[in-house]
């Protein structure tokens, strides 16, 4: 699964640590999600959705999606 977390974070000039604190996970977890090495749970995806004020589909999408 791919995502736009890095772009959304950069738009706000946040570090991985800032984002990690905002959604209450470790910086390592943010890094793994951004690199596509770890897929977040639905509750964590909702946290990102609320934080960036975007739907989950606008942030996360399947590898084969355009």
């Amino acid at each position: 699964m791919r995502n736009r977390l890095k772009v959304l974070r950069a738009e706000r000039d946040w570090t991985q640590a800032d984002l990690a604190t905002a959604v209450d996970v470790s910086r390592q977890t943010i890094n793994a999600i951004e690199k596509g090495k770890f897929d977040p749970s639905l509750p964590l995806a909702f946290k990102f959705s609320r934080l960036f004020d975007q739907t989950i589909e606008q942030i996360f999408f399947a590898d084969d999606d355009e």
Partner: protein, 132 residues
């Protein structure tokens, strides 16, 4: 591994609980040999204290795992699964080696504990690197 505030607190509690259990284990071991070798009641009380502190450590460890975030829990689960497998398979093989006299010495539980500890440590390092 970077930690959240709740994880750091849980880790501190786990470190304290582990230190208390280790201390009680040392007291139970060396106290019974050197300080009260003939006092059965004291030996039993110290052993009971060691058992209670061990139970506390298990509960604190459970809470520590619950305080981890989802990736950390996944890494912990993988390392625990490998460690449990090594403990069961390694323990049975080691015991069999003793009972069938393949090894010229008695199988000691401390060897198994060290093996499990090292396995857990290596598994944690490998799993953590995999997600970097």
């Amino acid at each position: 591994m970077n930690c959240t505030v709740s994880t750091k607190k849980s880790m501190s509690r786990l470190a304290i609980a582990t230190a208390a259990w280790l201390l009680s284990t040392a007291v139970a071991t060396f106290g019974s040999m050197l300080l009260w070798p003939d006092q059965q009641l004291v030996k039993i009380l110290v052993l009971l204290l060691n058992l209670v502190l061990g139970g506390v450590m298990i509960e604190v460890n459970r809470r520590y795992v619950l305080a981890l975030d989802e990736l950390q829990q996944k890494i912990y689960l993988q390392a625990s699964a490998i460690s449990l497998g090594v403990a069961v398979i390694g323990g049975i093989t080691y015991s069999l080696a003793d009972t069938t006299n393949v090894i010229p010495f008695d199988a000691e539980i401390s060897v198994l504990i060290m093996l499990v500890g090292i396995t857990y440590l290596v598994s944690m390092i490998i799993a953590t690197r995999r997600y970097q």
